[in-house]
């Protein structure tokens, strides 16, 4: 019976920007709201590349829900936005300021531990007023059902809790979305994987090397032949006294190429182009990794079931359109709309209509169109076919193609800055690798300077992370190399020949026969979820407060 359980009007699972936005908006409507967060602190499980946008057209922005956000919780405003097309040492830089500023009220670099823990304090203050609050170190592990209907959540640490509204803002590896059958973990091409290093740098050095003031920031993107042909790119953002440098790749490409994510990150960090900023100094504060949903493919068109509403990464609401990556702003909007939908539904005397209203609002506010552009859907089948990629490759590599690039130098930069054209960018090797490489090759100038920084090896990167190791939270279902071997390379804290990682390849001899197996140690796990997709596992999050604890995020 429902009467046996503790009841809140709304339960929000996860205290990232989506959960915080939903909780704050619910609390302001007087809805009794309980927020459950599995980290020791909000933000301790959260990683992002590092830019949060406030869009002019958005119904909710983080600072509209949390005044003082920019002063208290973010790093630097980012006005300058460049992309570097790299071919060997040749680099052609385009200014992407126009597309970056398109519909942008402001955009700040952030570090998630600081940002999310600040948000969580505000959320606790707001939700307490309603008779709820925010609890950390509580892992929600599934949905509570009664007669087949979702009525609440179950947790590792607490008794089940019932609620009239359940907001799943539990991130890219949302266990609730999967429990409800709304998302799955099947296709690597639905996902990106990002790894990031937070690199120490004094504010004076940042000002000097980037040519910016203390209250200014810069963003640089990198594409071309830096990454062994793996589809994806790199980024560098300035924080107050550090840089966020990272790489993001299509997981299917990463898996197919058997690429080591940490090595691709190192390829960027040690490229001569970065010498102008690093200047031989390199002190890594934190290595982190995260899976990123490709909203073009997985943004759920109907992210709700019964009382359950999905928000942010949990609903695949992460927009990656060529060089523009927007996730947190959409999570905030979705959180606000989810709260609004519930309040509306309640006013009409039918709280169970919240899901339908939420879906309608996502469409009305144009969120869905940003996440899943119709133009992308219309052109994808043609532009992502191998044949077209091959023709594109051939043309662009030919002297005629080179002449074309030269003739249209300015036009290419303009094309990159067009939101309309970006909506059609196909996810092929051609657009991520071949075209930028060719641009760098034909139009670029060689960079001078030698970058001799030495990023730490994987063992040291893992050694520097903070863990509270609990029970193993991932079970390797099939330990044959065929089924799960890809995890040895694709897992950001594993590598071929490295015994200290999560996934290790082993050759076992029994009675004269040899077998290639994979073994798993979840101690160094950073909970990104990569292995859930590329290997055969039973994947869960660790219990509340257990596992990795990011200090930067």
């Amino acid at each position: 019976m429902t009467d046996d359980h503790e009841h809140y009007e709304a339960v929000v699972v996860g205290a990232g920007p989506g959960g915080a936005a939903a909780a704050a908006a619910l609390a302001r409507q007087g809805v009794e709201t309980l927020v459950l967060e599995r980290g020791v602190d909000a933000g301790s499980k959260n990683v992002s590349g590092g830019l949060i946008y406030a869009e002019e057209s958005a119904p909710y922005t983080i600072d509209s829900l949390f005044p003082d956000f920019r002063e208290a919780a973010s790093e630097r405003p980012v006005d300058d936005y460049y992309i570097h097309n790299v071919s060997g040492r040749d680099v052609k830089t385009f200014d992407l300021g126009r597309i970056h500023r398109h519909d942008t009220d402001w955009c700040d670099a952030v570090l998630r531990r600081k940002m999310d823990s600040w948000l969580a304090e505000r959320v606790h203050e707001l939700t307490r007023e309603t008779g709820g609050g925010l609890l950390t170190e509580v892992r929600v592990n599934g949905l509570l059902r009664e007669n087949g209907e979702i009525v609440g959540v179950t947790c590792d640490e607490l008794d089940p809790i019932t609620a009239d509204l359940i907001v799943a803002a539990d991130g890219v590896n949302s266990e609730l979305a999967r429990d409800a059958g709304l998302m799955d973990w099947d296709e690597p091409d639905d996902w990106f994987q990002g790894v990031k290093a937070v690199v120490e740098m004094e504010p004076d050095a940042i000002a000097d090397r980037f040519g910016i003031d203390d209250d200014e920031g810069a963003a640089h993107l990198f594409s071309g032949d830096l990454f062994e042909g793996v589809r994806g790119g790199g980024f560098l953002y300035t924080n107050e006294d550090s840089l966020s440098v990272g790489t993001v790749f299509h997981l299917d490409s990463l898996a197919a190429e058997r690429a080591e994510p940490h090595e691709l990150l190192d390829a960027l960090l040690t490229h001569p182009l970065l010498d102008q900023w690093l200047q031989g100094e390199y002190e890594e504060r934190e290595y982190a990794a995260k899976l990123v949903p490709d909203s073009k493919k997985v943004a759920h068109p109907s992210p709700h079931r019964g009382r359950l509403l999905l928000v942010g990464d949990a609903a695949g609401q992460m927009q990656a359109q060529g060089p523009i990556i927007k996730g947190m702003n959409h999570a905030v909007t979705a959180g606000g709309l989810a709260a609004e939908a519930y309040a509306d539904a309640k006013t009409r005397g039918d709280p169970s209509a919240a899901g339908e209203l939420y879906e309608a609002k996502l469409n009305e506010e144009g969120v869905m169109d940003q996440l899943r552009p119709a133009r992308y859907r219309a052109t994808r089948s043609v532009s992502e076919s191998d044949l077209l990629g091959t023709i594109g490759d051939a043309v662009i590599r030919s002297p005629i193609g080179a002449a074309g690039l030269k003739a249209f130098d300015g036009a290419i930069e303009r094309a990159f800055n067009s939101p309309f054209l970006l909506g059609m960018v196909p996810d092929t090797r051609f657009s991520y690798v071949t075209l930028p490489t060719r641009i760098g090759e034909v139009l670029g100038e060689p960079v001078t300077g030698d970058n001799d920084v030495e990023p730490p090896d994987l063992a040291d990167r893992i050694g520097d992370l903070t863990y509270d190791v609990g029970e193993p939270h991932i079970e390797l279902v099939d330990n044959s190399f065929e089924a799960s071997g890809t995890a040895v390379t694709a897992c950001p804290v594993s590598a071929v020949g490295f015994g200290g990682g999560c996934y290790r390849e082993e050759t076992v001899r029994t009675n004269g026969s040899e077998e290639r197996l994979v073994s798993l140690d979840t101690q160094p796990c950073v909970e990104c979820g990569t292995c859930a997709i590329v290997a055969d596992t039973e994947w869960e999050h660790p219990a509340g407060g257990k596992g990795v604890e990011y200090e930067q995020g």
Partner: protein, 550 residues
């Protein structure tokens, strides 16, 4: 014309708007507009329910307690209404009508309470009339009737802070020491000039430790070193393990009935217990037996005065009274959402002493013992009746810590270097262990979590209880031999306090080289047998000569 024309709005927008309107006529006008327009059902319902709500509120407000029809009101309505009535005559009228009407005991209580409040405050002498519960509720069967201490304990004397010191495996557990340290600190302050300068007569009050068990006199002495002024202990072989009845009876007897010259008071002023499994049981039973309350699972303690205005405690409605020497007992509520501070305060006709708490282990710092501290050991002497031991402990088990790798001269540890032939690797490691007089066998986490297939005769050695490192055991032997271990930081923290570290690895760049005293570059399958032979022959020097001395 209403300010809002509903036909101009979507349903979703209308909710907050409509709920903001307090004028019934305006709402009726809106309803008419909607009826002439689209006439949407949900909009009508929305407006109508608002009208209904406002009318209901009006009626409630208009109710005159002088002639209201009580049958129309719920008990909650009655409670709300009487709160505003100050005229006792009106209230008596209400009471009479309720009794003649529905005669609901809840409503009657509400009205009576209000009468009491109204008249009490005008009553003059300010005292709450005390009626013993037996007289007040003569029809009730009194479960407390056989407790001689329930009544008549007003104005007694109470002194000292009593600390229950729980033992396990013949030792004081840490929380017992933490409590003694805290009690010492609290009573030093209490007896000091900043505090109360001792009891009401200026005599210092003491920390009394209680130790119960079999052969515990040494532990009683230890309790003095941790801060007790006096330790009352009781030894009996039947008390080796915790049992509810005898432990409760003993504690209560010691602090309430024990006839010794220094215990010249009724009961302790304060009692503190560890909030362990047994401590929670005992604290509840003892405090029940002593007829007081208990704040369980406290996370802090301090003694301070408290201003109390509850007439049940002060005996004088409306006035605040200062209670001093009050033990403040903060404890987490609602999974740590909030903290409540619990106070245990006497009533005018009934004392609530001792003020008792159980305290979460680790809440206070573990104090350093002072072996020179002086105190008095008091052996408690009481014949323990057999009926206290009706519950018999037939079996007990202590969860084993598993393999203890600490406290050995040598530890031999193997890592993933054994991967090419794991069974052979374990065999070689065990042979080296046997060659030493006192060596233990450890493993890196990498081996334990591997998918290696081990031969049956060595498989038992591969388990988590042999793991060395961050999530395993921490060892610091005289000699640590690491074979095939790369030396990740998670392993390092488990062994780098060892006196001499000898590493065997075929990778000269392995991290472990950086914190080894001797590094042998080579295949462990070749090096281990030679090392074993050298140890057995007593000629280690030959092997050591080949090792690079980093």
């Amino acid at each position: 014309m209403p300010t809002i024309d509903p036909t101009d709005h979507e349903i979703a927008d209308l909710g907050p708007e409509v709920n903001g309107i307090d004028d019934v006529e305006e709402l009726e006008a809106m309803l008419a507009l909607e009826a002439d327009g689209e006439d949407r059902g949900p909009v009508r319902t929305l407006i109508e329910s608002r009208i209904e709500k406002l009318r209901a509120a009006d009626e409630e407000e208009d109710a005159d307690p002088g002639d209201v029809d009580l049958a129309e009101l719920t008990i909650a309505d009655v409670a709300n209404m009487v709160r505003d009535v100050d005229d006792a005559a009106v209230l008596r009228g209400l009471l009479e009508r309720e009794r003649e009407g529905k005669d609901r005991s809840g409503a009657i209580t509400q009205i009576e309470n209000r009468i009491e409040a109204v008249e009490g405050s005008e009553g003059g002498d300010g005292e709450v009339e005390y009626v013993p519960p037996e007289e007040k509720y003569p029809d009730l069967d009194h479960p407390t009737a056989d407790k001689q201490y329930v009544e008549g304990t007003s104005g007694e004397t109470y002194r000292d802070m009593w600390v229950y010191c729980e033992t396990q495996q013949g030792e004081l557990i840490d929380v017992s020491k933490e409590l003694l340290g805290k009690a010492r600190e609290l009573m030093d302050e209490y007896n000091g000039e900043e505090g109360y300068g001792g009891d009401e007569d200026g005599t210092p009050e003491e920390v009394i430790a209680v130790v119960i068990g079999d052969d515990v006199v040494d532990l009683a002495e230890e309790a003095i070193a941790y801060g007790a002024d006096r330790v009352v202990y009781h030894e009996d072989e039947r008390l080796e393990r915790f049992r509810h009845k005898p432990y409760t009876e003993l504690f209560a007897h010691m602090c309430r009935d024990f006839d010794v010259d220094w215990r010249d008071y009724h009961e302790p002023r304060y009692t503190v217990f560890p909030a362990t499994n047994n401590g929670r049981d005992l604290s509840a039973l003892v405090q029940g037996e002593l007829d007081s309350g208990l704040a369980s699972d406290c996370s802090d303690l301090y003694i301070d005065e408290a201003m109390i205005s509850n007439p049940a405690k002060t005996g004088i409605p409306g006035d605040s009274v200062a209670f001093d020497r009050v033990l403040h007992m903060p404890r987490p509520d609602f999974s740590g959402f909030e903290y409540s501070t619990i106070l245990c305060i006497d009533k005018p006709h009934r004392d609530f002493h001792p003020q008792g708490a159980s305290v979460i282990p680790g809440a206070f710092d573990l104090p350093d013992p002072d072996p020179d501290r002086e105190g008095e050991l008091v052996e408690h002497d009481l014949e323990l009746p057999d009926e206290w031991f009706q519950i018999e402990i037939v079996d007990h088990d202590r969860l084993e810590g598993g393999v203890d790798l600490t406290g050995h001269d040598v530890v031999v540890a193997l890592g993933r270097g054994i991967g090419t032939d794991p069974t052979k690797g374990i065999e070689l490691g065990l042979e080296l262990v046997d060659a030493f007089d006192d060596a233990a066998f450890g493993l890196s986490r990498g081996v334990i979590t591997a998918s290696y297939q081990f031969g049956g005769h060595v498989a038992d050695y591969v388990s988590e209880e042999r793991q060395i490192g961050e999530s395993g055991q921490v060892v610091e032997p005289a000699v640590y031999i690491a074979a095939g271990i790369s030396g990740a930081v998670q392993h390092k923290v488990g062994m780098d306090e060892s006196d001499t570290i000898i590493a065997i690895n075929d990778d000269p760049d392995a991290d472990i080289r950086g914190f080894s005293d001797y590094f042998i570059e080579g295949d462990l399958f070749e090096v281990l047998p030679r090392l074993t032979a050298a140890v057995e022959s007593g000629n280690l020097a030959a092997v050591a000569a080949e090792a690079s001395d980093d």
